[in-house]
């Protein structure tokens, strides 16, 4: 039996609660409420009904036959989290945490967001539950993702641009935590990934684990067997944790794809496992990108969702224990994978998910035709169209 998190919120050495004293009691309250609902049949019923009737679960499992044929290796299956309401897996967790907030009697939600996917999911569930919602977003990301900012406002959320630090996801998370410290008595902090102090990594994993459970059943029905390899992209790592959870005790190879940006030999990357060292970020002991004196270094990735200097503590443990392999994918490889999936399958993936696809495509080529590879397609790419237009236009210019 997989024993983590243990009673002090550790995954091996990783995880824990590294927060100001003021937040210890609020975290305890969340832990207590979470314990009560986790295995409560009434809660599960309400949660699964929302997932089904509101978000459209279970999401499809799509056999990517034309890409499979093109690459000439293992059969590629896509878990279609892009088909969720709001366009990504983020809604699974937002619905779960909204129910948790309701259970705790809190009606004010705080969230952080990078690309805006979690912000949109939080704003969406807040609207559905009649909660107020304040989303912290780095000013740099506000500028890059203006469409999602507008979406959040349409949904009735307040978007607070964060000017501290470099104005990206790391700083938005800092500011959300600072706001929470001040308003913890009546606000619920809805974290978007398997990061942060205990019990958040566990809470978010719990509210994403249906990804892997569904995919496992679906594949069993179609192919009658387990996948040989499972691939997911990793920023904080919530879609990956949700996918991997169902396979941890199976004889299945698990692979996380992190963002190599312009390359892990340049300073412009977000490859936390490949290039990071152990430290504390946002309340959790994990790997992070930092200098020798523990100052956190701003990461880089074409994908705002993977542009994070840390990684969930459970991933840190799974890396150290060797159960999951982590590899990094460059911007360029991700864009190529995105184009290939669009052209061969008519599916425009999120640039985050394209990192998982790029890794899966590389692996598939080296596998036998009978083998199976399962990829978590965590979100759709509509939000990335502007970024892609810029990248592709620059490519054209470079060739002129």
């Amino acid at each position: 039996m997989y024993p983590y998190p243990n009673e002090i919120g550790r995954y091996g050495d990783f995880g824990g609660k590294f927060v100001p004293e003021t937040l210890m009691q609020p975290l305890d309250e969340i832990q207590t409420a979470f314990k009560q609902i986790k295995d409560d049949p009434a809660f599960r019923e309400e949660y699964y009904k929302l997932l089904k009737d509101y978000s459209g679960r279970p999401t499809a499992l799509t056999y990517a036959d034309r890409v499979t044929e093109y690459l000439g290796g293992a059969k590629i299956y896509l878990k279609r989290e892009d088909l969720n309401h709001t366009g990504s897996h983020k809604i699974n967790n937002a619905l779960g945490q909204a129910l948790l907030a309701k259970k705790m009697g809190k009606t004010k939600i705080i969230a952080e967001t990078g690309a805006g996917q979690h912000g949109v999911a939080a704003a969406t569930v807040a609207a559905k539950f009649g909660f107020s919602c304040t989303v912290f977003m780095g000013e740099e990301d506000v500028a890059r993702q203006s469409l999602n900012v507008f979406r959040m406002k349409l949904l009735g959320a307040e978007v607070v641009p964060v000017t501290s630090g470099n104005g990206t996801l790391k700083d938005a998370t800092n500011e959300a935590i600072r706001y929470w410290v001040q308003h913890c008595e009546d606000h619920f902090y809805m974290i978007g990934s398997v990061v942060g102090p205990h019990p958040y990594p566990q809470v978010v994993r719990e509210f994403q684990k249906m990804i892997g459970e569904e995919a496992k059943d679906q594949l069993k029905r179609i192919e009658g067997t387990m996948p040989d390899k499972v691939v997911a992209c990793v920023g904080g790592g919530s879609n990956a944790m949700g996918m991997f959870q169902a396979f941890l005790n199976e004889d299945v190879e698990l692979i996380g794809a992190e963002a190599a940006g312009k390359g892990i030999d340049t300073p412009l990357h977000a490859a936390t496992i490949s290039k990071g060292t152990v430290g504390v970020i946002h309340g959790s002991l994990t790997y992070l990108i930092q200098d020798e004196f523990g100052q956190i270094i701003e990461p880089y990735s074409i994908s705002a969702g993977l542009d994070y200097p840390g990684i969930g503590p459970e991933h840190a443990y799974l890396h150290k224990s060797g159960r999951v392999t982590y590899d990094s994918i460059t911007d360029e490889e991700a864009v190529d994978a995105l184009k290939l999936l669009s052209e061969k399958e008519g599916i425009l993936p999120a640039i985050e998910s394209a990192h998982a696809l790029a890794k899966a495509f590389k692996l598939a080529k080296g596998m036998d035709r009978g083998q199976l590879i399962l990829v978590c397609l965590s979100g759709r790419g509509d939000k990335d169209v502007n970024t892609l237009m810029n990248v592709l236009e620059e490519e054209v210019k470079a060739h002129v």
């Binding site: 590294f18 100001p20 003021t22 210890m24 630090g165 001040q182 504390v280 956190i296």
Partner: protein
């Protein structure tokens, strides 16, 4: 290890400055001014890229110090320079946990010893995660300062029981920063802490004027003042940096700091 043995008429004044703000050599002079203004001990802040428990004033100070190339090692050494230059009150290193974690523990404590640093305060290390660091502090004779907050509730007693030096009583929810007024529930909270504690109790977070100091001094053993002083340093920074205006600016800073001092009422 330091002990703060107070006479009944004496009150703690524990100022906070960020090491290297606005420049390292001025930090040394600021520490001397604070000692002259009646500081009982000094909290010396290590600039950090992600100061979670700090408001905008100390965030900006951190940024200024980082721009000066400060890091945890240089901050400790700056504390040593302060001691060499006549500062004889206890110096407490105030640092987030991550910079401490990156240093070899023996090296870290050797640095503290060489530089005569007396105490350690880590704002993002709650009791549950601090056991081993506290033990190491004990064996190296460094006083480990614990914080309690209005939300500590059932944890209050356990934290206070193991407190050394003084108990840092966080006045209100939120991050560091100047506050115009306090929630009235803070007073019974401070009294509770005071009743439980065998070491002095200092109230911090938001203390920014003489009236607040008098009020807090009535029910506790004194105050920790950070953002108000750091804001003053920010205001004076150009004059502090320039050699011609430095002494005058330091005098102005000392006069300003005096308002928070427990000596003030005795004069």
């Amino acid at each position: 290890m330091f002990k703060l043995d107070l006479q009944p008429s004496e009150k703690l004044f524990i100022p906070f400055i960020t090491a290297g703000d606005p420049v390292p050599e001025v930090s040394i002079e600021l520490a001397k001014s604070l000692q002259k203004a009646g500081a009982t001990a000094l909290e010396l802040g290590v600039a950090y890229s992600d100061p979670l428990a700090d408001g905008p004033v100390i965030q900006r100070a951190s940024k200024r110090a980082l721009d000066q190339g400060m890091n945890i090692v240089k901050a400790i050494e700056l504390g040593g320079e302060m001691k060499k230059n006549g500062v004889n009150i206890p110096i407490i290193l105030f640092t987030y946990y991550n910079p401490v974690l990156q240093l070899n523990k023996e090296y870290f404590f050797a640095l503290l010893r060489e530089n005569h640093i007396d105490g350690l305060l880590v704002p993002d290390l709650p009791l549950e995660e601090s056991n081993s660091l506290q033990e190491e502090c004990k064996s190296h004779e460094v006083t480990y300062i614990s914080l309690v907050a209005p939300t500590s509730e059932s944890r209050l007693k356990t934290i206070i029981e193991q407190a050394e030096g003084f108990v840092y009583c966080v006045s209100s929810l939120g991050v560091t920063g100047v506050r115009n007024e306090f929630n009235s529930s803070v007073y019974p909270f401070i009294r509770t802490v005071k009743n439980l504690s065998t070491v002095p109790v200092a109230v911090g977070f938001g203390i920014s004027n003489r009236e607040q100091v008098i009020k807090m001094n009535e029910i506790s053993d004194g105050v920790v003042v950070g953002s108000a002083l750091v804001r003053k340093i920010e205001e004076l920074k150009d004059r502090l940096i320039s050699a011609e205006t430095r002494n005058q600016a330091l005098q102005e800073f000392e006069d300003y700091a005096m308002a928070f001092s427990g000596l003030y009422s005795l004069k």
